[in-house]
């Protein structure tokens, strides 16, 4: 049973607009959340993370929001750029780095 769910398999957004990726989880004991980005034929690369004691973390164009009461995580990319076209995975950890991953969302940024 998947404890981390990304219900949107794909997202298309215009260049310059905001991309919003969503992730839901079921286990309230998760203590750390990460987003990874994956290009074809490459391994995932770390994008941004957030601890369960925070509700927002920002890094340049990327912001992650955590709503613990709703067990919901979102990633905002502003403004979206063509190089952001990739698959995005959210991941949640119960301990020291053993993660549960979502199924991924394919983002396509159009000119």
């Amino acid at each position: 049973d998947q404890q981390v769910k990304q219900n949107s398999p794909s997202l298309s957004v215009q260049e310059g607009r905001i991309s919003i990726l969503n992730c839901d989880y079921t286990n309230s004991m998760f203590d750390y959340f990460l987003w990874y980005k994956k290009y074809p034929a490459e391994g995932p690369t770390f994008l941004i993370s957030i601890s369960s004691i925070k509700d927002k973390n920002e890094d340049g164009r990327f912001t992650v929001f955590l709503n613990k009461s709703a067990k919901h995580l979102s990633l905002h990319i502003v403004p979206s750029q063509p190089g952001d076209s990739a698959v995005y995975f959210c991941a949640a950890s119960l301990s020291w780095g053993k993660f549960q991953f979502g199924a991924g969302t394919q983002v396509v940024v159009t000119p």
Binding site: L34, G43, T45, S49, F89, G97, K98
Partner: protein, 114 residues
């Protein structure tokens, strides 16, 4: 830069064969992981190791075993390959006590079992 390398990008094996997937990291990380990635299922943890000769089962260890004889190398073994093990296999590592737990991934091995 952290480098995680995997021995093959593509492999084709026959049902029943013993298959070895090798992973090497060059950053002296204590923790190493093997995942498989399947469409609609994301990444699922097969095994992980937090030290040489130490291993723990992940979420889907059935049909797999691992070996970690040296700190930098973590091998995934398919004892008798089956068609349902056709998948993308990803190796990852991170240091013990990493603040954000981020993992560094290799490029993946696309395994096809016929």
């Amino acid at each position: 830069d952290v480098k995680v390398t995997q021995s093959s990008r593509y492999l084709v094996k026959r049902t029943g064969e013993k298959v070895f997937l090798e992973c090497v990291q060059d950053m002296d990380h204590e923790n190493m992981f093997w995942y498989r990635q399947d469409p609609g299922l994301g990444l699922r943890l097969i095994y992980f190791s937090y030290d040489v000769k130490m291993k723990e089962k992940g979420d889907i260890p059935e049909g797999y075993s691992v070996s970690r004889e040296k700190k930098e190398r973590f091998s995934l073994i398919l004892e008798s390959a089956s068609t349902n093990q056709t998948s993308m296999y990803l190796c990852a590592s991170n240091p013990r006590g990493a603040r954000s737990y981020e993992q560094y991934f290799g490029p993946g091995t696309r395994l096809t079992v016929t």
